[in-house]
Symmetry: C2
Subunit: 325 residues, 2 copies
DNA sequence: TATCAGAATTTGATCGTTCAAGACCTAGAG
DNA sequence: CTCTAGGTCTTGAACGATCAAATTCTGATA
């Protein structure tokens, strides 16, 4: 198998290299008849554009980078993985490829940006796990690198485009579902205040239920969740249902309910594998759609057809009702 | 920020382009004093090799491709994700980057190989989920594309290097653990015969226990597992412990035990998030190490320092003991 | 001091594509 | 019949690195 270059195609179609290039990149400037002839040659020879050569000339690699993080919490880690699946699909459809990298902390990540940009000419980045005072966005913005975040810029103005899940709407829907099922004392089991995501999830529950409601806050995990739920359930006027900020906490709540012998409906968040396996009702994030929207926004940025102001997308999650509520 | 090329560095260090190139790629041919001077210039200017340009000349991209699959089974899907994390780390250490792709079925995957190879000059592939009559390996081998599989070539001779987990050793360890705990009637809950992985897991249990043992086979999943375990537990001489081919099946077995009121120890396989969350004893695959070994083998292949015969690596899994056994 | 081998460095060509500019052709206007 | 505009196509240069070959330097030997 000889190497097929643009010159091979040109020779076979009886035109110049540039004309072949035009057929590929700007077909409308080529006469129809010629265009067809070249296209035939391309398929006949199985020609494919060499990305490296194209990249050298144009400075664009058609590559986007995403960080893959070591699954910290085994339960919740899968959320980002599912997002990654969706992004790979969406990128492929748009003619881009996804490159992975890992980084320990924001500073290391920024160093990696630098390397990826200068060595691989990466076209864009998708950032996940945004947080308060995130230094990554400003670094990228200062260098005019196209990027989109999955997760809003907590505590910062909307200076770039982002896609996020409406966490509050998720817990609100869960709370409403419990109300409709007849529950009146609906509690919330969440994380300590300060994390954007956690606060939003609490806020959704609070919005539906009004001023009152038993709640507890603890670090994420099954054990802490069980402990916190247990003390809620042993109180004078215990909740009959608990909305939880994660499936891990929800799992803990279920354990606590069993141990204390109290009947308690439980709703988790993220609809992880664990939820499906044990029949836990949970709020499900539309991760594939979030990924597709991220890619859509990136596409606009990269094609220069993006509006001058940032676009923000807030997607509603859905409640997956199973046995526990 | 001006673009820093090899010429910029050369000018600053007062040498030619080629000498800079030599410092980077074959430092031993450059005199020590010159080498130092060039190195200083490189760091002072923050120079980084442009991969596209290098690739055009050398035909090597320092990119390896891995397929990311839509998590079919929510529980077991995470196994490959963890492998992917490990591979990204290992590749980064070796100076390679991981590129993702998706494909629906073997044929689509082979078409993708073709595209990735001609368009991106991919250096190598890591294949996962090998199976009987896998057409992918022969396609790649026929074109001399370097690759390694995570999973042995089921039913085919060892014509390429691979890394795999010793599944049989895993279930054997689980069975021995149960024996040591005093169990005598130890059953096996697995998949229908024919899948290499499933057969191996069954074989490990069988090897330890000898000819006898109650067992059942069913498709993977919590429900099927519960049904199959239930009928085992209701038999005349029910098992007091069950070794399962997956955490999903194990979860079903636990449900069945609770429902039938029988006391039954359960061991799962894969040590997924679910296992950790509910305290299921499970066999854990050393995925990070498997990934590192895969990268190691690929490195050998790519540097031309691989032995002429294929290397095969079989890694022992470990038993993570929790409450259920 | 002249010679030579080997080490150290430089020069020119090249990878496959796209950009920028120029050449050619056709048709309609003057 | 000439000129021009617009459409179509071609040519040479460039992107940033490495390869292969040529050149210069160094130090030891005769």
């Amino acid at each position: 198998m000889e190497k097929v270059t643009i010159a091979t195609v040109a020779r076979r179609a009886g035109v110049s290299r540039q004309t072949v290039s035009n057929v590929i990149n700007t077909p409308d400037v080529v006469r129809e008849e010629t265009r067809e002839r070249v296209r035939e040659a391309i398929t006949a020879l199985g020609y494919r554009v060499n990305q490296a050569a194209r990249q050298m000339r144009t400075g664009r690699s058609r590559l986007i980078a995403v960080r893959i993080e070591p699954a910290r919490d085994g339960i919740n880690g899968s959320v980002l993985d599912r997002f990654l699946h969706g992004l790979t699909d969406a990128a492929g459809l748009a003619g881009y490829r996804v490159m992975l990298y890992t980084a320990d902390g924001d500073d290391a990540e920024i160093a990696t940006y630098d390397e990826l940009l200068s060595a691989y000419d990466l076209d864009a980045f998708v950032l996940t796990s945004t947080h308060h005072g995130d230094p990554r966005t400003s670094w990228l913005a200062a260098r005019d690198v196209p990027f989109v975040t999955f997760g809003r810029p907590w505590g910062a103005p909307d200076t770039h485009s982002w896609v996020d899940i409406d966490n509050a709407a998720g817990t609100a829907a869960a709370t409403e579902h419990l109300l409709a099922a007849g529950h009146r004392r609906i509690g919330f089991l969440g994380w300590p205040a300060g994390s954007g995501v956690g606060d939003a999830r609490r806020e959704g529950w609070h919005r539906v239920l009004g001023p009152w409601g038993p709640s507890a806050a603890t670090v994420d995990g099954v054990e802490p969740g069980a402990a916190a739920a247990s003390s809620l359930l042993r109180s004078d006027d215990p909740p009959t249902a608990l909305v939880c900020a994660s499936d891990s906490l929800a799992l803990g709540a279920l354990q606590a309910a069993r141990e204390t012998g109290r009947d308690c409906a439980v709703v988790g968040f993220d609809d992880t594998a664990v939820a499906g396996a044990i029949g836990l009702t949970s709020v499900s994030q539309p991760l594939a759609e979030a990924a597709a929207r991220c890619m859509g926004l990136l596409g606009e940025l990269l094609d220069g057809r993006a509006p001058s102001f940032p676009t923000t997308v807030l997607l509603p999650p859905s409640l997956v009702v199973r046995q526990t509520a």
